[in-house]
Symmetry: C2
Subunit: 218 residues, 2 copies
């Protein structure tokens, strides 16, 4: 499925790097821990990082009851967020052609605060399983008090686009003989060896869902 | 120097994690490649990733002349951006206490388009040297044509705040005996081995400023 291009989601610059493919967009979303969400405070555009979950064509956020950003997102309804994975830094002989390889996704949707406890639990499960796949089955679900203290926001994805740059560094022909280094510095997010909590039962080995996550991030 | 707290920059939730210390804030800014900037399009808050530079209390962005985001940032004057470094994922026995260690900075300022070629060059040097320290001396500076094709935006930092979470995973006492793994997964951005451009002179070794950058990122 492709998201139809509209004035909101169409990539304006670097159209060759654009993708509207839902699977490609969701794959990028699902491989990041944090998104950056835009919101309005007194008419001023602001941005904050927040962790999130996805289930089908819905994104879930959570926050405390008094969180200013969550409140603004609920009040404004129209939501825009971005996730970006930096894959490489590209260095060229000319300052002008320095650039990066990246995968960036913009999501546009409508927010809705969830009140039904079962709907809230579904959203929180999506957030925890986005954090580490299958984690929800391997932790204690929120109790009634915790659920009441947590605001859960559902964002119905209306449209989206990705911008993906992959490739080698590229200089002008006339610059090739300049005595400057050019090339690519690969960038990768690495997850280190898990550090068990000090109060963890010594007999509890690192469970399979965490080993799987580490493998996936290798 | 501390940024004074105001309605704009004061951290509302998790005040113990807040910092207004200029040096701490600039250190976080300087150790990231990409910021996320908020802007308004037809009254809607949007967010995009962009690389940037800093020199003293000014941030520099650049873009092509026809870039919608750059235009919006110049038009709106009041600018807000965020950088965020994810340091660890914290897993707890309860779903409720899952969280992350991070360093997040919010910058609030005023934008100004630069027109003077020398001012523009100063901004571009800050961007290239933010990308890789000392890179500006080791590449060809923009020529007149390139400079004309590049828009450079200066953001005067008016106020800022950081939010920094570092520590161990923490469960409720009543959850400690639950049979779930708890602990920390460290997260690190790694720069891989430089890949020289295919057309690079074979005699050109990886220069010192890149080796220094790799060392700093180890």
């Amino acid at each position: 499925m492709e998201f139809p291009k509209s004035r909101i989601n169409e990539v304006q610059r670097g159209k060759k790097k654009a993708s509207y493919n839902q699977k490609e967009i969701y794959d990028i979303l699902d491989s990041t821990e944090i998104c950056h969400i835009a919101f309005l405070i007194e008419g001023r555009a602001m941005v904050q990082p927040i962790n999130f979950g996805r289930f089908e064509d819905k994104i879930y956020l959570h926050g405390s009851l008094r969180n200013r950003m969550t409140q603004a997102i609920i009040d404004n309804e129209l939501v825009s967020l971005n996730v970006m994975i930096l894959d490489a830094m590209k260095l060229t002989r000319s300052a002008y052609h320095h650039s990066v390889n990246y995968r960036s996704v913009n999501i546009f949707g409508r927010s809705l605060e969830l009140h039904d406890p079962n709907e809230k639990l579904k959203g929180l499960a999506a957030i925890i399983n986005h954090f580490v796949p299958n984690r929800w089955e391997h932790c204690r679900p929120p109790n009634e008090k915790e659920l009441l203290a947590t605001r859960v926001v559902e964002i119905q994805i209306e449209t989206a686009s990705a911008k993906i740059a992959q490739g080698d560094s590229k200089d002008n022909k006339s610059d090739l003989s300049l005595p400057y280094w050019a090339g690519v510095l690969p960038v990768r997010q690495k997850i280190g060896t898990p550090i068990p909590a000090k109060d963890l039962d010594k007999d509890l080995a690192t469970p399979q869902h965490i080993l799987d996550f580490l493998n996936q991030k290798k």
